[in-house]
Symmetry: C2
């Protein structure tokens, strides 16, 4: 029996940030890397011509997934009611954009509470504040999920490592959060980069998350190309097969080929060479690891 083909894609930041109309020619590169979709950052108002984007995607034969961008001014977990309201408004906006582009998944750290990338240092969280944050986040995600309703758009909540948020770090945190939201339009996004830091056993975590998982990001431990680090891709593939996962799987190889002392690794940088062959090699490694796992 043939294994079903894994639905693989790449994040737009692999090519450019911001990703604009002038970058639509990259959609052909995505296809040539044997990928099925692109994951776009949710465009800010006016950043992309939505109709033109949808046509360019269709012309290239590509699907699309959306990555939401939270920040301290739109943050479901914020103590500031204006930031919380802006966070809820933003999630509704994401649904509207998803419908306009034909996307079915809006993923990311939708709960807010950004840490290092917002210049916020780790600090103790009082028990009352922890409870308030959870209430606000669960309420906000429930309201946004109700707005998504039966449009077919779903929210995929992503746990991030301890340095990027203090809201949801482990897969267990993610499961707990989406179980509390308890809405068909709200599931889980797992990213092996973050899991490698926070989970004890990646395949076991995937199995525990089970049917909650509606989006997946396949990243190496150091965020370089798949196959150049130490993530156990066969184990990950077997776990995804075991839970019957058939959703999108995005590659986000952000780390550039510049290993000089003092070059920041947490700072996004544009490509410094043609990385197409490396991307294609990563895709082959994943298809082989996942295909073998599914076909067994």
């Amino acid at each position: 029996m043939n294994a079903p083909r894994a639905r693989l894609g790449v994040i737009s930041m692999f090519y450019a940030r911001p990703f604009l109309g002038e970058h639509f020619a990259r959609f052909g590169d995505v296809r040539r890397a044997d990928l099925d979709f692109i994951e776009l950052l949710v465009p800010e108002p006016g950043e992309l011509d939505l109709a033109a984007t949808r046509r360019a995607l269709a012309d290239a034969g590509l699907g699309v997934v959306l990555a939401a961008r939270v920040n301290p001014t739109r943050d479901l977990a914020s103590a500031d009611p204006r930031a919380r309201e802006a966070g809820e408004r933003y999630l509704r906006y994401c649904v509207d954009i998803a419908m306009a582009l034909g996307a079915e998944i809006v993923g990311g750290p939708l709960y807010g509470a950004p840490l290092v990338f917002a210049g916020r240092a780790p600090a103790p969280v009082a028990e009352s504040e922890r409870a308030r944050r959870i209430d606000c986040v669960v309420g906000g995600l429930r309201a946004a999920s109700a707005y998504a309703g039966d449009t077919g758009v779903r929210f995929a909540v992503e746990p991030l490592n301890r340095f990027e948020t203090d809201m949801a770090n482990t897969t267990r945190h993610g499961i707990d959060l989406v179980a509390r939201v308890d809405h068909a339009a709200c599931g889980l996004l797992l990213d092996t980069f973050h899991m490698n830091m926070e989970d004890s056993d990646l395949p076991a975590a995937i199995r525990a998350a089970g049917a909650h998982v509606i989006h997946f990001q396949a990243n190496e431990n150091h965020r370089g190309f798949v196959g150049t680090g130490h993530v156990d891709w066969r184990g990950v593939g077997r776990a995804l097969a075991a839970i019957g996962y058939a959703g999108p799987i995005t590659l986000e190889p952000f780390r550039r080929d510049d290993e000089r002392l003092g070059v920041p690794l947490a700072q996004w940088r544009p490509p410094n060479r043609d990385e197409g062959p490396d991307l294609a090699a990563s895709v082959r490694i994943l298809r082989e690891a996942f295909g073998e796992a599914r076909g067994a």
Copy 2:
């Protein structure tokens, strides 16, 4: 042939922070966990009675290693000359404290440039600024190493993950830095927690670092107890044996047994139960992994 016994220790933060005279009773717990030394944060002036600390260590039969604490006000990489001078003064102070306590290693991110724990967000670093930072750090470490001279105290420079610094993230960065300093009193500290995020292959990185390594920290990927995560301890042990490593190996299991949603993982918290048996189990796992690797 019997393998030499690995020299293992635990960081004082495992018990308390700050670690004060009232905590000296913990030295007995350290011995009972089959450990050989404690790694103390370099005490701030007046924080510890140095003579009393040295006596308590001797009474317990424990060695001591020091962990330096840099911050934006004492930072070899700073653009502010006062912060740089304070950084150099601090490293001389560390040598004085080491001699007073009988420690031979002062380890840590001695180059400065703290990121998430200083509330500094990742940002691009211009090429001229990168070069300036390297010059300042190399000059500062060279001056501090000259001050250490033939006292027997050595500086162990530790690469940290991308979110904790933008100066030295990978083992390769660390090798490059200590090679530029080029002084017998300046070597490398490798920590598997950071390596798990930034290096492609931990055993290969250890082998590449070779004789530069003068201190080592054995931490799980999620900073819980050794043996509860996915670090390949046998591979690490074989690599340490291959480079003939005979220096100290510190455990720093900071992660507390509280997996509730919204409990920050990057925030230090005191123990919430008696963790002695877990520490002893970690030590057994390491001794077995390292002993087998060395005895082979």
